[in-house]
Every structure is written in C-alpha cells, then in structure tokens.
C-alpha cells in the first residue's frame, strides 16, 4: 500500500505547514484514503509489531519501577500524592474547626492555629489544586489525544519528584512546629520581620514547586498543540484539551509574577534588601500586587480544569455532543483573559483611589459573562439530551449547584463597596469555599468516578459513591452556608478564637459539625478509591463516551494506543465506526517500534497534519537526581547554608545536561521512517516544528513574564514614591552599562549567525562563533554586575532593585552560556551536525529572549533613572 503516488502529500500540504529550513519533510499519502483504512491487516505482522511495541513501552521491572517516566505512571503517582496532601490539609482544617467550635477555646495555641491556617491554604492551593490539575492532565491528556505519551516524559517525572520533595519539606515543617504562620498570602512586613524560618520554608519550598508547575504547564501546552492525532484539527479537539491549553497558558503568565515576588522577598529576608520596607523606600503593597496577579488567575487555573472534567461528563450523561462547543471555547479563552484583570479585588481595602478600584470591580463583573456561558452550555446540553444520572453526573450536578452559589456571592464581593464589609470576614471564607469546592473538589471527585474505569480498568462502587456524595454535599452546606452570616455578623478570618458574646458561637458550632460530615464523605470516597476491587471490567467504554480515551484495551498496555488513529470527528468513538477495532489491529499510524525506541507522532498546531516522528525519552534515574539536587538548591538557603546550595545547583545542572545529552534530539539511524498508511515522516526536526523548540519558546514566555514583573516593581516604586530614584542617589556606572549592552548584542549576534553557518556546513566557523558568543556573554554579565557594584543594596530600595535586575540578567546569562557550550560540545562530539541542529535552534531562541532581557535591563539600570 506504500506504492501510491508520493506526490499526493505535496498537494495535501501547504507552504505554511512546511518550514523552509527543513531538510527532510513528510512524504507519501495524507490524508489516508478510504481503501487504506479498510485494507486487511496481516495478523502475523501485527503480532510481531505488537511484541516489539510492548517491549519498548513496558515499565521497568522490580525496584526500577520508580525510574518509570510513562505518563500513566507519573500521572498516577502525581495525583495520589496531591490527594494525600489534600487529606493532610483537610485534617488541619478539622483541627481548626474544632478549635473554633466554641468561644475562648484553647485546644491549640494561637501560633499553632496560625501555622495550620497558613498551611491549609498553601497546601490546598500549591500542593493540591494546581498539581492535581497537572497530574490528571498528564494522566489523561495523551489518551484524549490518542498519543503514546506526553512529549517530554522525563520532564513530567522531574516535575513529580520536585513536587514530592518540595511538598514534604513544606508540609513537614509543621511537625517541627516551625511551619510558616504568615498566611498563604505571606504579606510583608509581618513576614519580613519574622525571625523564624517559616517564611523561608514557604518562599523557597513553594518556589521550587512553582517551577515544577511551570514545567508541567509547558509540557501540557506542547502536548496539546503538537501531539494530537492526525486529522484532529483545532476545531475537533476534546473540550478537555481546550481547557488544558488555556490553563497552561494562564499558568505561564500567572506563576512568574509570584516567582519574581518570591525572588525579591527572599533577597530581603536573606540579604536585607529593602523591597518591602517603607523606611528605606520600599512598599509592602508591591508584594500584594505581585501575589494577587498570580493569586486571582490561580483561582481560575483551579476552576477551569475541573469544568473541563465536567465538560467531558455532561455529554456522557446527556448522551449527545456538547451543545455550543464554540461557546465553551469562547468562554474558556475569555475567562483566561479576563481573569488577569481582577487581582486588585483582593486589595479593595488597601486604600487605592476609587477609580482604580472601579476598573477591577468592572472586570470582576465582566468575567461572570463567560462563566455564565459555560454553565448555560451545560444546562442546554442536558436539556437537549436524555439525561442518565450516572454517578459522576451526580457529583457534577452537586458541583454546579454549589458553584453557582459561590459565583453569585462572587458578584456581590466584586462590588468594591460591599467588599469593604465582606473582605477578610467569614463571608469570604464561605464564598471561596463555595467556588473552590463547587468549582474544584466536586468536579474532581466526579471526574475520579468517571475516569477511574479508564485508569484502573475497574469500576468504583455506585453505592459508596452516592453515600459519599450526599455526606459531602450536605456536610458542605451545613459547614459553609452559615459562614456567610458569621462573616456579616463581623467575624474576621484567621482568628484563632473569639469571644462568646458577639453572637458567633452557635453559627461556628454548626460549621464545625458540618466540617466533620464533609470529612465523613471524603473518607468514604477515599476508602472507595483504595479498597481492592476484584475483577477487571469487561466493557472498555462503560459510560459510552465518544472520546478516544475509551479506546484503550483491557487490561491496559503501557503503549497508550496500539496505533495512532486518523480522526475526523469530535467524538470518534461515536462517529467513526470500527475505529477501535482498527486501532487495536494496528491499522493506523505508527503500529510498530522496529528501532526499539519510544515514539509518537508530532502534528501541526492548527490542522494536525503529521510532521514528524519524535523519539520520546524512556525510564531514567537522572531525572530523579536532578529533582533531588534542585531541591537542595532551594532547601539549603532556607537555613542560610549557601555552599551546599551552590553545590546542589551545580549538580542539578549537571544531571539535566546529562539527561538532555543522552536522550534528547538523538541523531537518528535513518532520516525518514515509514509510519504506515503510505506516509513517511522525518525522525529528526529542528526549529519550530520540533516540540523541544516549542518547549523553550513557551518556557521563555513565562520567564519574560517574571522579568516583566521585576520591571513592573521598578516602575511601581517610581509611581508611588515622588522621590524614586532619590534625588542625590548614586546611579549605576553608565560606561559599564553601555559596555554590557554592547557585549550582549554581540553575543546574540554571534550565536544567531552560528546557526545558518553550521547548517551550511562550515562547522569550524560555527564553533568559532559560539566560542566568541560565550566570551562576549561572560563579558556582558560581568559588565552589568560591575555597573552596580559600587551601590549598597541594603541602603535603599533604589540600589536594591538595580541589583536585583542585574542579578536576574546575570543568572540568565549563565543559562545562555551553558546552552552555547552545549551546542559547541555538540558540534565537537557529533551530537550536532549541519543537518541535525535542533540544540542550536533552541539556543538561538533562548538568546532572542536573553537579548530582550539584557537590553531592557541595561536601559532601566543605566538610562531610565537619569531621565526620571
């Protein structure tokens, strides 16, 4: 069947799908013809293929199981770990509820209560809600997309081990009574004058986890846009994938401001650089801005993935496709945007000008519109189908009932004047739990009931599920409904006790009872989750749902799908009869693993045309070591042990380099590969067709957001303080700054030119250019540090912010130099060749961003202050 005219692909493909620089491009037939898709398959050949595939994708045996990187394993560990952290954080809440059950209680001390509420919030947000989304997406996304695995499996594993180490570190601090007690928002100056290690544990431990979160977000975005099956154009993506894309992008723009904030915060705590100290020109409000620019999108980052689960369950319950697919896409994308215009509604009481509050009030109301669209799309789908109240749908219905209540109180607190009463009272506690329980916990549990048969090939108990639902639902309302009133009767949040004569005691007692009813419900669910369940189920698609996920066979095989299908519908299992059998027989793409390598198909971003076969990474320990040493680099500074921290950082970098060198962008044995159905695809691509390039691009978008947040800080000081920079302050040395800018421009130029030179075959010339780039980069970094060397960063916020910007740039330069060195070594040791040059493409891409960073830095360090 491969003897069809190879020219067909040329017609099928358009210029925009081909990158001009590519040496090898797809050839053969695409899309496949009807005869090809119905052609009989040789069973003997299929069996041989199957054996090879199994051998390649199996988990490592014995204790080496823990070196696995398959999305099915990592996703499972990830979600179970996040669930365990949720249970711990929930127990903290129970203790707090006991403490608050009666007035003037002394069950736990004020300090312990403060540690508990800090960790309850921090853990639920950073150790449960966000990681849980990423965990479940890592687990499910490849199946939704009919892919074999995520594009960067080792990155998922690295993220998981980082998360585990960081989570244990942060949570473990409670056992030593040394937990952070500054609230999950860590407002300075309370937390900067704190003498203990609590705030450091919070800042460094959670920064570490945030980095892991961003890594997962990068992977999920690349997975969604590059790993879809052939034919699944952007208008056919499962809604779940749309949400993953939106949420991934939001993480990319929301987490970096917090990381920038953490950077400034830790510089103040460790080295006394006064970013938030009003006596030396700093301002505590800068932290609040940076924190909430993260903190509000965060709410939607938690909420949207859960709605994504609902968007998969609702059509299964209604047994019809979603009504208003396009509307839901509108709503997801619209919410993603608008959620970035809400952050000051957490700061309505900070005394900002009325008109400023108004803007955020307005955006907070506007975001209701896309959310409403989302909910009405569900209602319309239910009305347009014949609803079968399957157990997962019961949880989703409960979720919507609770979430709409939370949304409606959200409309109230979005009005700035009303918020002046409600803010920081139990009304807000009630509101946020209505949105997060309704918008996260209920859909999540519904999702677990829905997807469990996919994950374990067994069913959870219908009876336990219903008991758990009613306990949780009723308990939730007993616990949180009265809190609206408690708050408006004046009870502030975060008080460890309260007097008995203000009228809060009965309400608090009711809430405490409710909390334990919720706990009972969650306990039933947890038992149902872990109890042994006996036989595997028979039917692979128990809910009769239409997405590719339910094509996986029973018992499960680690390969994901036997062959990667050609998709022409939003619900292929409903609309493409015979697709499952055909997939099973290996009748679609990539049914084989002749080379003994893990492979999946990369398709174009919009139209999902096959572009190349990517070799994904397999089991490894180096990712775990990398996570371990990264952990050291973040954890040692908590105790001001800087030498071991530096050693850890160096070892972490070494592990990452080893991992990249040995397993990514390997030179293929053959430039092209037959992937069945008459299609031949390249086995190596560089530049914008390669997932690695997208990984760098997306990571750097996040990085630029963090840098922009630093620059925002600089201009923030200028806005709020009439004398910033102070009139008589010393400025950075202009000559050094200018020299630095020149060096960076030259280093960038040398690196940029090295790419086409190498491609043209002049390898030695490329090596010379890369070496020159390294030297120039070192000079640039040295010059920018020298320009501020004479200033004392502890004296005032002005020199401190100049220092911070210079340090930021210099650290990024180190990364840039390592990348240049990697390419240089690659050209020497045969890892990079004229036609196999992905590392150089990625390095040049990084350097584009580094050049922007360097030029902006030099401008604000050297030029702007002289103009102010």
């Amino acid at each position: 069947m491969t003897d069809a005219t190879p020219s067909r692909i040329g017609e099928g493909y358009r210029r925009a799908d081909l990158e001009k620089h590519e040496v090898h491009v797809a050839e053969g037939i695409y899309p496949p013809t009807e005869e090809m898709l119905t052609a009989p398959i040789d069973p003997e050949l299929a069996d041989a293929q199957k054996e090879r595939l199994l051998a390649v994708w199996n988990d490592p045996p014995g204790w080496r199981y823990w070196s696995a990187v398959n999305n099915s394993e990592v996703g499972l560990w990830y979600s179970l770990t996040a669930f365990a952290f949720m249970l711990i954080a929930g127990c903290l809440a129970l203790v707090m509820r006991l403490q608050l059950a009666i007035p003037d209680n002394d069950l736990i001390s004020a300090d312990r209560f403060n540690q508990f509420f800090t960790m309850h919030g921090s853990a639920m947000m950073f150790l449960f809600a966000v990681p849980m989304f990423e965990a479940i997406s890592i687990l499910l996304l490849p199946a939704f997309l009919g892919a074999r695995d995520m594009p960067f499996p080792r990155l998922s594993a690295y993220g998981y081990w980082s998360f585990l180490i960081g989570g244990i570190f942060v949570m473990g601090s409670l056992l030593f009574d040394a937990g952070p007690a500054g609230g999950w928002f860590m407002y300075p100056p309370l937390t900067t004058i704190d003498q203990g290690v609590g705030p450091d544990i919070w800042l460094l431990g959670l920064s570490f986890i945030e980095v892991a979160s961003i890594a997962a977000a990068v992977e999920l975005i690349v997975g969604t846009i590059k790993c879809r099956p052939p034919g699944m154009r952007i208008n056919l993506m499962p809604l779940y994938a749309w949400y993953v894309l939106v949420v991934g992008a939001m993480i990319l723009f929301a987490f970096p401001p917090l990381i920038a904030g953490d950077f400034l915060f830790e510089l103040q705590r460790s080295f006394d650089w006064p970013f938030f100290d009003p006596e030396r020109g700093g301002d505590p409000l800068l932290w609040q801005h940076l924190f909430w620019i993260f903190g509000h999108p965060e709410v939607y980052i938690i909420f949207l993935p859960s709605i994504a689960v609902a968007a998969m369950v609702v059509p299964a319950a209604a047994q019809r496709p979603m009504v208003g697919y396009n509307w839901i896409v509108l709503s997801a994308v619209g919410t993603g945007f608008l959620s970035f215009g809400l952050w000051v509604h957490h700061m309505f009481t900070t005394g900002l000008p009325s008109i400023s509050l108004g803007f955020f009030s307005a955006a907070s109301e506007a975001v209701v519109i896309p959310t409403g669209v989302q909910l009405f799309a569900f209602v319309a789908t239910l009305l347009a189908g014949r609803v079968k109240m399957i157990l997962p749908m019961l949880w989703i219905a409960g979720a919507l009932a609770i979430f709409t209540a939370g949304g409606l109180t959200g409309v109230m607190v979005a009005l700035a004047p009303f918020d002046w009463q409600a803010h920081d009272s139990y009304f807000v506690v009630a509101h946020l739990h209505y949105t997060l329980f309704g918008g996260m916990v209920f859909p999540l549990i519904g999702g677990v009931y829905f997807f469990y048969p996919f994950i374990r090939k067994q069913m959870m108990s219908e009876r336990l599920g219903r008991i758990s639902f009613w306990l949780t639902f009723v308990g939730f309302n007993i616990c949180f409904l009265p809190m609206h009133l408690t708050g408006l009767k004046g009870m502030p949040r975060r008080v460890y006790t309260y007097p008995g004569d203000v009228g809060w005691d009965t309400l608090n007692m009711i809430s405490t009872v409710g909390a334990f009813v919720i706990a009972a419900g969650i306990a039933v669910f947890a038992w149902d989750l872990v109890r042994p369940k006996g036989k595997l189920m028979e039917d692979r698609n128990p809910w009769n749902e239409g997405s590719l996920m339910w094509s996986h066979r029973i018992p499960d095989h680690y390969w994901g799908v036997r062959s990667i299908p050609y998709v022409t519908s939003r619900n292929p299992l409903w609309d493409q009869p015979g697709i499952v059998e055909r997939m099973d027989q290996g009748g679609y793409y990539l049914p084989d693993a002749q080379e003994g390598l893990r492979e999946t198909i990369i398709t174009s971003a919009i139209d999902a045309r096959p572009q190349h076969v990517t070799r994904v990474t397999g089991p490894a320990w180096c990712t775990m070591w990398a996570a371990f040493f990264t952990g050291g680099a973040f954890i040692f500074p908590t105790f001001h042990w800087y030498p071991p921290a530096v050693i850890s950082a160096v070892l972490a970098v070494a592990c990452v380099i080893y991992w990249l060198w040995t397993s990514t962008a390997r030179i293929p044995e053959n430039p092209m590969k037959d992937v069945n159905l008459g299609l031949r695809l390249p086995t190596y691509v560089s530049g914008p067709s390669a997932p690695g390039w997208w990984g760098v691009f997306i990571t750097m978008l996040g990085d630029m957001t963090a840098f922009a947040s630093l620059i925002f800080g600089y201009f923030f000081y200028w806005t709020v303080h009439p004398n910033f920079p102070p009139p008589l302050a010393d400025h950075a040395n202009g000559a050094w700054v200018a020299l630095s800018a020149l060096c960076y421009a030259a280093a960038w130029g040398a690196t940029r030119v090295a790419r086409p030179i190498n491609r043209s075959g002049a390898v030695v010339m490329a090596q010379v250019l890369l070496s020159a780039g390294i030297v120039l980069a070192i000079a640039g970094a040295a010059a920018i540090m020298l320009s501020v060397a004479a200033l004392d960063p502890t004296s005032h916020v002005y020199p401190a912010i100049l220092w911070a910007i210079a340090v930021w740039t210099a650290v990024h330069t180190i990364v840039g130099i390592i990348m240049q060195g990697y390419c240089l070594a690659g050209t020497i040791f045969g890892k990079v060749m004229p036609e196999y040059d992905a590392p150089i493409w990625n390095t040049v891409l990084f350097w584009h961003f580094l050049l922007i960073t360097a030029l902006v830095s030099t401008a604000v360090v050297g030029l702007v202050p002289r103009m102010m």
């Binding site: 300090d111 500054g182 407002y187 004058i193 409000l285 009504v323 208003g324 509307w327 009481t349 900070t350 005394g351 509050l357 108004g358 009030s361 307005a362 109301e365 506007a366 209701v368 519109i369 669209v373 989302q374 909910l375 009405f376 799309a377 209602v379 319309a380 789908t381 239910l382 009305l383 347009a384 014949r386 609803v387 009932a401 709409t404 209540a405 409606l408 109180t409 409309v411 109230m412 009005l415 700035a416 004047p417 009303f418 002046w420 009463q421 803010h423 920081d424 009272s425 009133l485 408006l488 009767k489 004046g490 502030p492 949040r493 008080v495 460890y496 007097p499 004569d501 203000v502 009228g503």
Partner: protein, 351 residues
C-alpha cells in the same frame, strides 16, 4: 495573699450586658420583604454589618439584601432548570434552542443585569469616601492594639486614647489610618466597611453614625500571633454628649483617692511602667504602649481581651502573654501580688 491563680477568670466580657439589642433598625423596613422576617433576629449583634447604625453601613446592608434576593432567584432558576432536565426528563430541546438559551442566559441577561449593578455599585464608592465634616480621628494599628488620637476641628494637639473610639452621631467623621510595624485593618461593621492600615502609607476613610450605641470593631487583616485579640469598642454619642466626652478625655488623670490606689501609683512609677505608658498629669510619659490616662473609664482592656476590672488588670500585669500570646508587654510576675493588685486598683480608678 492574692496570687494570680486566685483571681477570677479574666475571660468574662461585659459587652453582652453593656449591649441591649438595639431596636433601631428602621431602614430595614425599606429592604426587600424577603429579608424582613426571621432573618432579622439572626442579623443583630454588636459587630454586625446587617444591623447597621451608620449611613454607610446602612447603604451596604440594603445593597446586600437586594443582592441576596436576586441571587436566590437566579440560583433557583439555574438549578431548577438542571433539576427539571434530570428529573422530569422532558422531550429534548433542539440544539438550536439550546444555543439561544446559552445566548440569552449566558450573554444577554448577565450583560444587562451586571451593567446596572455595576453602575450602582460604582456610584456608591465616592459617597462612602466623602470627606469628614469636623472631627478627625487618627488611628494607628499596633501589634495588637489600636492607638487613637482625636483631632477636633481646629485642634493643634491631639487627645490620646486607645482601643476605644467615640464618634458624634449625625456628623461625618474623618479617619486617618496608619500602622506601626505590620499591616492591620480597621473594621467597624455596624458603622462602615473596613480600610487597611499599612506601614509607610496613610489611608483614610469616613463614617457617619446615625444613632447612639455601643459597638465592637476588630482588626480584619491578619497581623500575627494575637490577631484574634485586636478589637476595640466604638461608642456613638449625641453631639453634646460627645463634646463633654472629649473634654473629659482631654483632662489629665485624676489622682488616686485611696491608700491602695496611691500605693499602686507609687509602684507603677517605681517599676518603670511610665517608660512605655503615658498617664497625663504624672511623670509617666512613655509612648510605646497605650495611653492609660483614662483607662479606668474604658470599656475594654488589652484590645478586647479583658475587661477593665481590678482582677483583669492584675492578671494582665502579672503575665500579659498568658492572656494574649506574643504580647509585647513584659510580665511582672516577679512582683509581689499585693503590689500588682495595688497597681490594678490605681489603674481602674483612672476614670
């Protein structure tokens, strides 16, 4: 001999008996009928935003009742539709009708309703922040108490107090809000919303009591270990009473007239209490802790943690941290308990 253990439990507050449930809730008659019955009794309280006694709080309470009424209707409609689809199993609507439902319910309706709500909500903001009409009170958040300074119109020097704020009824008072070390928030729900107190910044708000009464306010921004015990009492007085009150407050402390009281004053000065506290008319001029000139006439002690009684005062002096974790005042448990009680008697007498 009187030891700290023998003292009555300090944790009995007098707010309860000081506060007859105020009947004055006239404005609520204007609120939607839905809110009127049953709910009302649940809403009253000395610190309740739903039991307002100030112009601003009244506006916000009314706003809340309207919002709740609307929210309940919308919630029932939305979930009713879902319940209907689930239980009644109606004949499926066409996808086209479904899209009209999304368009009407998700776009048109919220856009119109929210535009109306937003314009009203926005227009309230400037009213609530209107400038004061005479009295200005400067309140500073400390860990964990409120420093209060009254600046009557034209005053060149403030009148100091702590943990208690008094406002004239029928007049808009201006509040200047500052913080010492960490962020706090000034919240007096019965009269108005809250505004944060931020180190390095000066915030303002204003409020206008509409009836006399006694209320409780509290710090709303988490401010460290004893955030729970950072409350204050607010009194609203008719203007003439208010003037008399200020006059009394401005006067120096009354000298003790009992022997115990005099011994207490001697002990107070001898143990260096004046290094932190001011008692006007005596050598005590410290500015670290609260002004104690008229502490005996205040309605709470230690920012709401205790009452102004001799046993409570004695317990506080003996070991402040035992009552309020992290309190900055050192313990005086090394002193003779008699001396402590004498100091307590002296302070209680500072009316």
């Amino acid at each position: 001999m009187l030891s700290a253990q023998d003292l009555p439990q300090p944790f009995d507050r007098k707010l309860a008996h000081a506060l007859p449930l105020r009947p004055g809730t006239d404005h609520l008659k204007a609120a939607p009928a839905l809110a009127a019955f049953g709910f009302l009794t649940a809403c009253v309280g000395p610190q309740s935003a739903l039991d307002p006694a100030g112009r601003d709080a009244e506006t916000l309470a009314d706003l809340f009742f309207w919002l709740v009424a609307g929210a309940v209707v919308l919630w029932v409609l939305m979930n009713g539709l879902m319940f209907y689809a689930w239980r009644a199993k109606p004949r499926p609507i066409s996808p086209k009708t479904g899209r009209w439902l999304i368009f009407g319910g998700g776009i048109v309706f919220p856009t119109v309703v929210l535009a109306g709500l937003l314009s009203y909500g926005l227009s309230v903001i400037p009213d609530q922040r209107a400038p004061g009409e005479g009295l200005r009170v400067e309140i500073t958040g400390e860990q964990w108490w409120f420093r209060v300074a009254y600046w009557p119109e034209g005053a060149t020097e403030p009148i100091h107090s702590a943990n208690e704020v008094v406002f004239p009824v029928g007049q808009r008072s201006e509040l200047t809000l500052k913080a010492d070390q960490v962020i706090h928030s000034f919240w007096l729900p019965s009269l108005a919303g809250k505004t944060d107190m931020i180190p390095g910044r000066v915030n303002r708000m204003s409020l206008e009591p509409t009836e006399p009464g006694e209320f409780r306010g509290q710090c709303a921004e988490y401010c460290g270990e004893s955030h729970a015990w950072m409350a204050f009492t607010a009194l609203t007085l008719m203007p003439e009473e208010f003037d008399a009150f200020l006059q009394d407050l401005a006067a120096p402390a009354v000298p003790p007239d009992t022997e115990v009281g005099q011994a207490g004053r001697t002990a107070f000065m001898a143990h260096g209490c004046g290094g932190c506290h001011t008692i006007r008319g005596t050598p005590a001029r410290g500015n670290v802790g609260p002004d104690l000139t008229h502490v005996g006439s205040r309605l709470n002690l230690a920012a709401g943690a205790l009452d102004v009684t001799v046993p409570d005062l004695a317990a506080w002096i003996t070991d402040p941290k035992a009552i309020k974790a992290g309190a900055k005042m050192p313990a005086y448990d090394h002193l003779d308990p008699d001396e402590i009680v004498a100091m307590a008697v002296y302070l209680e007498g500072l009316k």
